[in-house]
Every structure is written in structure tokens, then in C-alpha cells.
């Protein structure tokens, strides 16, 4: 029971990660298609103020899995060794590139930031596919091969992941910018959806075949309800990019991401490591789970507050940079919500 609650927290961390880091990886990938120097810089700075907090969710997810379901952690990671290692390479390059490009005002590092983001997205897609198609283990010890993760299915999940992240990045970019930047974001969002929707749909249908649980009884209802929500949210996203208010696309993407992941969970629980390892088999002893639930569970609201605060301080849209004073970053110079200028409230004036 307590292990099931803990599994809920792991799934929650994964969703927070996909929602938050999804958009900033997407912005990174989008920067690869942007030629205008100012707008490339703007993209890095949108990410620079929040990437660390966004990325912390994947660390929490990994550690929550390690502490709460150690057998699953020990079996899963060796099975997807290569995709995870490559993902780490991407994370390293990208994190270094963000601070270096801002600090050095260097365009070359923005390219590294974009490539790193693309690598992370592709690698995560392969990892997800590799896990969903099932891993071979002997009583919790991985005994398959290095390339087991690679299949047509995982190629498809990789492409689908990139598409979802780019759409999320475009939606966030639209939210944070105005003028030509916002129009470019809308265009990118729409064209990615055009190719992305069929790919994600095929991936979803194929996944239903692979999911370890038979979709019967209550599961069927829940599963299809979530699929319907995801479809509606996707429609809302399209509307948001075409003509809706600036926030609509972002809301649509987030709802679609969450309902998609919940549908996967419905098709899996209580299996955590496909094809057959269950939550209770993988669970840590009671004394560990209690500590986790109290110690970490109680901290989650605080953690959510930190995340909210980091976004709240830098709320508002990025403006064209002409009148920005030296030493103040674009993020610092962004407009506050409601349209007033940042300088109205600032104290260290220039």
C-alpha cells in the first residue's frame, strides 16, 4: 500500500519533469531553427533562469525510484545503459552551454545548447521505448544485451518525444515573447504538430499492444477517457497556436502530456518494469518507505513553491532589446505581467 503511494510520487516526478524540462528542451531544439541572433539569445535566457529547477525533477525521479523501488532501479538502468549515458552527455553539454553562452555572449555555445537539447530528447525517447517494450532480467538482475533497447518501436518513441518537446517549447516561447518571436513560435508549433500528431498516434496504438496489462474492465474506461482528454487538449493546442490567446497552447500541451502519461500508467500498474516486475516485488522495506514518504513527501509542496517562484520572478514577456541597459540580462529586463515595465519596480536603477 505504502509502496503504491510512493509509486504515485515517482510518477508525479516524471510528469513534472516532462512538463517542465519538456518545454525547455523544446526551446533548445527550436533554437537550432532560429537564425536571428537576438532571438537565439532570447531563447537561451528564457531557459537560463529555470532549467536547473526543471531538471531537478529527473534527479528526484531517479532517487525516488532508487530509494523506494531499488530492485526496479537496479534492473532498469543497466538495460537502457546507452540511451541514459547519451542523455547524460546531452545534459552536460547543454547545462555548460547555457551558462557559458550567457556569460560569454557567445553564439557558438547557443548551438551547443541546441544540439545538447536535441540529444537529450532523442535519448529519452529511446529510453522510454526500451523500457516499455520490456527488459530481460533474472530475478531483478538485468541479463540482456547492450543493444536490446534498439527497435523500430523505440525509434518511433524517440521521434515522438522530440515532437512533443518541440511543441511544448513552441507553446512556452509563444507565452514568453511578443512580435516576430511569438509569431515564429506559433508557426513552429503548428508545423511540428502537423508531422507530430500522426507519429504520436501510431506510437500510442503500438504501445497499447505492448502494455503489460490487458485493457479490460475499469481500465478500458479510464484509458479511453484519458485518450479522449488528450485528443481534446491537442485540438486546443492547435487553436492556441492559430488564433487563441497566448496561454492556450501551453495549457493544451500540458494537459495532453499529463493525460498521455496517465494513460500509460493505467496500462501498466502494478507492473513497474515491463514485462513482469511489480511494485511490491521491487519495493524497499517498510522502514525505508515510511522515511521516504514522511521526509520527502512533506517537502514536495516546498519544492513546488520553489519551482513556482523561479517562474514567477521572471514572469512576463521578453521585449526587443534596444533600450536594455548594460549588465542587465534579458530575463531581468522582461516585462511584468499586466504590461508595466520592469524598470518601474526595480531598485538598482541604471
Amino acid at each position: 500500500m505504502i509502496a503504491d503511494i510512493w509509486f504515485g510520487l515517482i510518477a508525479f516526478s516524471l510528469m513534472m519533469y516532462v512538463v517542465l524540462d519538456g518545454y525547455d528542451l523544446g526551446i533548445g531544439i527550436a533554437s537550432l531553427f532560429e537564425r536571428n541572433r537576438e532571438r537565439r539569445t532570447e531563447k537561451v535566457e528564457i531557459v537560463a533562469t529555470a532549467w536547473d529547477g526543471n531538471e531537478s525533477w529527473i534527479i528526484l525521479m531517479a532517487v525516488a525510484l532508487w530509494g523506494g523501488l531499488p530492485e526496479a532501479f537496479g534492473a532498469l538502468l543497466p538495460a537502457i545503459y546507452l540511451p541514459i549515458i547519451v542523455m547524460l552527455f546531452g545534459i552536460i553539454l547543454r547545462g555548460a552551454a547555457i551558462e557559458l553562452s550567457v556569460s560569454l555572449r557567445s553564439d557558438a555555445w547557443i548551438t551547443v545548447f541546441g544540439i545538447g537539447s536535441l540529444i537529450v530528447a532523442i535519448a529519452q525517447g529511446f529510453a522510454i521505448g526500451g523500457v516499455l517494450q520490456g527488459i530481460s532480467h533474472d530475478d531483478g538482475v538485468f541479463n540482456g544485451g547492450t543493444w536490446d533497447f534498439l527497435s523500430w518501436y523505440s525509434v518511433l518513441t524517440a521521434v515522438a518525444t522530440v515532437a512533443v518537446y518541440v511543441v511544448a517549447g513552441a507553446a512556452f516561447g509563444q507565452l514568453k515573447s511578443e512580435g516576430e518571436s511569438a509569431r515564429a513560435a506559433r508557426r513552429l508549433g503548428l508545423s511540428t504538430l502537423l508531422v507530430g500528431i500522426p507519429i504520436v498516434a501510431v506510437t500510442a496504438i503500438w504501445s497499447m499492444d505492448l502494455l503489460p496489462q490487458q485493457l479490460t474492465g475499469g481500465r478500458v474506461v479510464l484509458f479511453w477517457a484519458l485518450v479522449v482528454v488528450a485528443v481534446i487538449a491537442t485540438a486546443a493546442t492547435i487553436w492556441g497556436f492559430r488564433s487563441g490567446p497566448d496561454a492556450a497552447a501551453m495549457v493544451g500541451v500540458v494537459v495532453a502530456e499529463i493525460s498521455g502519461m496517465l494513460a500509460l500508467v493505467v496500462g501498466m500498474v502494478p507492473i513497474v518494469v515491463p514485462p513482469d516486475m511489480t511494485i511490491s516485488e521491487a519495493a524497499a522495506p517498510h522502514s525505508a518507505l515510511t522515511f521516504l514518504l514522511v521526509g520527502i513527501g512533506l517537502n514536495v509542496p516546498l519544492v513546488l513553491f520553489y519551482n513556482w517562484y523561479a517562474h514567477h520572478v521572471f514572469r512576463g514577456k521578453y521585449r526587443p532589446v534596444e533600450e536594455r541597459p548594460a549588465g542587465v540580462t534579458q530575463a531581468g529586463w522582461a516585462m511584468r505581467a499586466g504590461g508595466e515595465r520592469a524598470s518601474d519596480e526595480q531598485e538598482v536603477r541604471s
Binding site: 536547473d52 531537478s56 557559458l100 522515511f291 520572478v313 542587465v328
Partner: protein, 469 residues
């Protein structure tokens, strides 16, 4: 010894990869923890005095902090995953203990730093001064909490306590004993002091460079004086704590580590080994350079010089750590701390004689010793980690039993990838720091500082209690 069997090679590469990636990670916390404290203090000074010099210091070091912090974060993320990737069986066995501890680190420390570092780095001109100070302080608090939890986790692996072993897993029984395990009480202060010392030396070294060059005088004098003051205060404490690590924890809990780091095989030497060339297979030293009496005096605490230092041959070969790694890791730290001691002591003497800003030879010395704190830290960790082999959980689980069954190609490939990326980034980072230092701190114009920091109340200084006439 013949050719290593395939799985031996895999084990060795996994170990090298872990050691290399964590040493790379360690390089950055070694300076960012101390820098974050320094930045928060500098900003507090700026708020109190509104002198441009403090803003100048803050902005200069903030830039160096930012890139180091980012590298520390991404390199730390790598390590978390490596526990499962390369050490799957270890992760499955220790998960119930180490997972919750590091999980607490994630929620109390990592998220705290991550949430507020954005404001600290990019909030200039956007948030109130007070908000800025709070954010800087929270980042500093986060780095210290991070040090606390991770030292607890690592200390549990050195001196496991408060658990029972059941079905191949470590099951926590008493969390108090797990977290405050026997070695934590000494190792945590030692580590915290170490990172503060390393950062202080870095700050002093950069200031010394400006003093030698005669540039940025005001900036150089202030930071030189503060950093050396901190060093002079902390170093004596560190020598005391370090000595107690050996006496209170290594001798009772991990004697083979002490034998290895002192560099003796048989237990007859009363001298102190300055340099050795060990031959692990032959269980002897091929060459050694030893100072008579000293080993007995500081190693065994017998001033009469008659007590020999225990040798590694007391431990059966299959339970011995590698002497070369333990010995030279320890010597790097020990000789490093002697050099830092000279700096700290010298600064006190010069300060008393009012020559701190004029003694050019001293400035040059400090300048050349800039990286020694970081080197001592890496050396200390090599001692701690290599000296506890062959155990990954001391006395309970051997490193070779913790390794994942991966293909050799995969592990060699990932190691080569890490080598390429990390060595490149390290070079870039060094270039970046040197470039920033050479450029020097940027001037802060006076009109950039608001003489009227509180637009609502409209007065700079407001009496806290109303003065009754």
C-alpha cells in the same frame, strides 16, 4: 598476473569511470560551496553600506560562480544515474538506505539551490535588494545542506550502522544511527571546512594576482584581506579535525586504510614516510624516503619515538587497499595543507607587521598556490575511497559484487565519452576563469546605485524605534 578476465576489465573500467566522473564533479562543489557563502556575505555588506566596491566584488565572483555551478550540477546528475547504471546490484542492495538520504538531499538542497540560483544570477535590476540577499543566502544554505546529506550517505558506506541485512538488502532499522553514523561526526566538519578553505584560497589567489600586477587595487586589497583572514581562522581548526579523523574513526574502524596511507608493509618503522614506491604484489616498498622518529610521533602519537606505525602486511592481501592510491592521495592532501598553513600563518605575521599589501613575494606565493585547496580535496577523497577498497559498503559488500553486468564495449565507450567531454569542458572552464580574471572586475558607476533604496518610505536610514523628543 596474467591477462584480466573479461569481467575484471569491465569492473575496472566501471571503477575508473566512477572515480573520474566523481572527481570531476567534486572539483566544482570544492569552490562553489565556499563561493556561494562568500557571495551572500558580500551582498549583505553591499546592502548595509551601499558602497560600489561590494557590488563590484559580487558581480565579478558571481560570473565565475555561475559557470562552475552549472558544471557542478550537470556532473552531479551524472553520478546519481551512475549508481544504477554501473552499480545496479549495489543500488538494489543499498537503495533502502542511500536512496532516502540522497532523496532528502534532492528535496532539501538541490531544489532549494535550483529554485533561487536563477534569481541570484539573473535578477539584477529586477528584484528588490532584500529579495536578492534572501535568494543568495538560500543558495548558500542549499550548498551546505547538500554537503551535509552527501557526507552522511558516504559516511554510512564507510562505517555502516543502524541496519540489518536481509534478503540481500540493507534494511534501515534506526534512522538516527544511519544518518549520524560513526564517521559522520568528524568527516562532515572536515569536508565543510575543506570547501571553505579551498574557496578562500581561490579568492586570495586571484586577489594576489591583481596585487602583483598592481591592478584593481581596492578590489584586490579587500578580497585578499578577507580571504586570508578566513584561512587563518579555519586552517588550525581543520588540522585538529583532520587529526581526529585518523584517530577517532580510521584507527578503530578502518585500520587497513591507515596502514596503506602511512606507506609501511611491516610494522617496524618508527619513521615517517615522505615518499614510497610500493610493490603491492611483492608486499614491500621498492624505495622509500623516511624521516626518523616522526612517524611514531604523529602517526602513533608516541613522542618517545619507540612505537612503530602499523604496516599493511597485517591485513590479508585480498582485503588490502591499493597502497599507491591511498598513500599519494593522502600525501597530496597533507602536503597541500602544509602549504596552505604557510599562507595562513604568513598572512597573520604580515598583517601584524602591517606589510600584508606590500610583501610582493607573499603575493606571488599565494598566486601560485591558488589551486592547492582543490587538489587537497581531490587527494582527500582518493584517500577515503581508494583506502576503503575492496569494500563498497565497508566490511559488508565488496565492490566486485556491486557491479552491473554490462558489456565491456558499452562501458569502455561511455568512459571514453566522459573523458572527451569532461577534459574538453575542464579546459574551457579553466580558459574561462583565466579570461575573466585577466579582464578584471568591471567598474560599477556610482549612479547605478540607488541612493534611495526604499521608494515607498523614501528614506535611506530609518530609526528602528521612534525617537521621543
Amino acid at each position: 598476473m596474467g591477462l584480466a578476465a573479461p569481467s575484471d576489465l569491465m569492473l575496472d573500467v566501471s571503477r575508473w569511470q566512477f572515480a573520474f566522473t566523481i572527481a570531476f564533479h567534486m572539483t566544482f562543489p570544492a569552490i562553489t560551496v565556499g563561493l556561494s557563502v562568500f557571495l551572500a556575505a558580500t551582498y549583505a555588506m553591499f546592502m548595509r553600506t551601499h558602497k560600489p566596491i561590494y557590488l563590484q566584488i559580487f558581480r565579478f565572483w558571481k560570473k565565475i560562480f555561475a559557470v562552475g555551478f552549472a558544471l557542478g550540477v550537470v556532473a552531479g546528475t551524472v553520478i546519481t544515474f551512475e549508481f544504477g547504471l554501473n552499480w545496479g546490484p549495489f543500488a538494489a542492495a543499498t537503495g533502502p538506505i542511500l536512496g532516502p538520504i540522497i532523496g532528502m538531499e534532492v528535496v532539501t538542497a538541490f531544489f532549494l539551490e535550483a529554485g533561487f540560483v536563477g534569481v541570484m544570477l539573473y535578477g539584477d535590476g529586477r528584484v528588490k535588494e532584500r529579495t536578492m540577499l534572501i535568494c543568495c543566502s538560500l543558495v548558500a544554505l542549499g550548498t551546505i545542506l547538500s554537503t551535509t546529506w552527501i557526507l552522511s550517505a558516504n559516511s554510512w558506506m564507510q562505517t555502516p550502522a543502524g541496519y540489518r541485512f536481509e534478503d540481500g538488502q540493507f534494511v534501515p532499522e534506526n534512522w538516527w544511527q544511519v544518518i549520524f553514523n560513526p564517521s559522520f561526526a568528524w568527516r562532515f566538519p572536515h569536508m565543510l571546512l575543506a570547501v571553505l578553505i579551498a574557496a578562500a584560497l581561490l579568492i586570495a589567489g586571484v586577489a594576489a594576482y591583481y596585487l602583483v600586477r598592481g591592478r584593481a587595487r581596492e578590489f584586490a586589497r579587500r578580497t585578499f584581506s578577507v580571504a586570508l583572514g578566513v584561512l587563518a581562522l579555519l586552517l588550525p581548526i581543520q588540522l585538529f579535525v583532520g587529526d581526529n579523523i585518523a584517530l577517532q574513526y580510521i584507527v578503530p574502524h578502518q585500520l587497513p586504510k591507515l596502514e596503506a596511507l602511512e606507506g609501511n608493509w611491516d610494522s617496524t618503522n618508527t619513521g615517517y614516510q615522505l615518499l614510497v614506491i610500493p610493490d603491492q604484489d611483492g608486499q614491500q616498498n621498492l624505495w622509500e624516503l623516511s624521516v626518523p622518529w616522526f612517524g611514531s610521533a604523529i602517526g602513533a602519537k608516541d613522542l618517545s619515538g619507540n612505537t612503530p606505525v602499523p604496516g599493511l602486511a597485517m591485513t590479508p592481501p585480498e582485503d588490502q587497499p591499493n597502497m599507491t592510491a591511498s598513500f599519494y592521495g593522502f600525501r597530496a592532501m597533507f602536503y597541500g595543507s602544509m602549504l596552505i598553513f604557510i599562507v595562513a600563518f604568513g598572512s597573520v605575521v604580515l598583517r601584524l607587521r602591517r606589510r600584508l599589501y606590500r610583501a610582493t613575494w607573499f603575493h606571488k606565493l599565494v598566486m601560485w598556490l591558488t589551486p592547492v585547496g582543490v587538489i587537497a580535496i581531490i587527494g582527500g577523497w582518493v584517500t577515503a575511497e581508494a583506502g576503503r577498497q575492496p569494500w563498497v559498503v565497508y566490511g559488508q559488500m565488496r565492490t566486485e559484487d556491486g557491479v552491473s553486468q554490462l558489456s565491456e564495449g558499452a562501458v569502455i565507450g561511455s568512459f571514453v565519452g566522459f573523458l572527451l567531454i569532461y577534459l574538453t569542458l575542464f579546459a574551457v572552464w579553466l580558459w574561462y576563469v583565466i579570461r575573466q580574471v585577466k579582464r578584471g572586475p568591471e567598474d560599477v558607476s556610482v549612479d547605478e546605485i540607488d541612493p534611495d533604496p526604499d521608494p515607498v518610505r523614501g528614506s535611506v536610514a530609518e530609526p528602528s524605534t521612534p525617537v521621543t523628543p
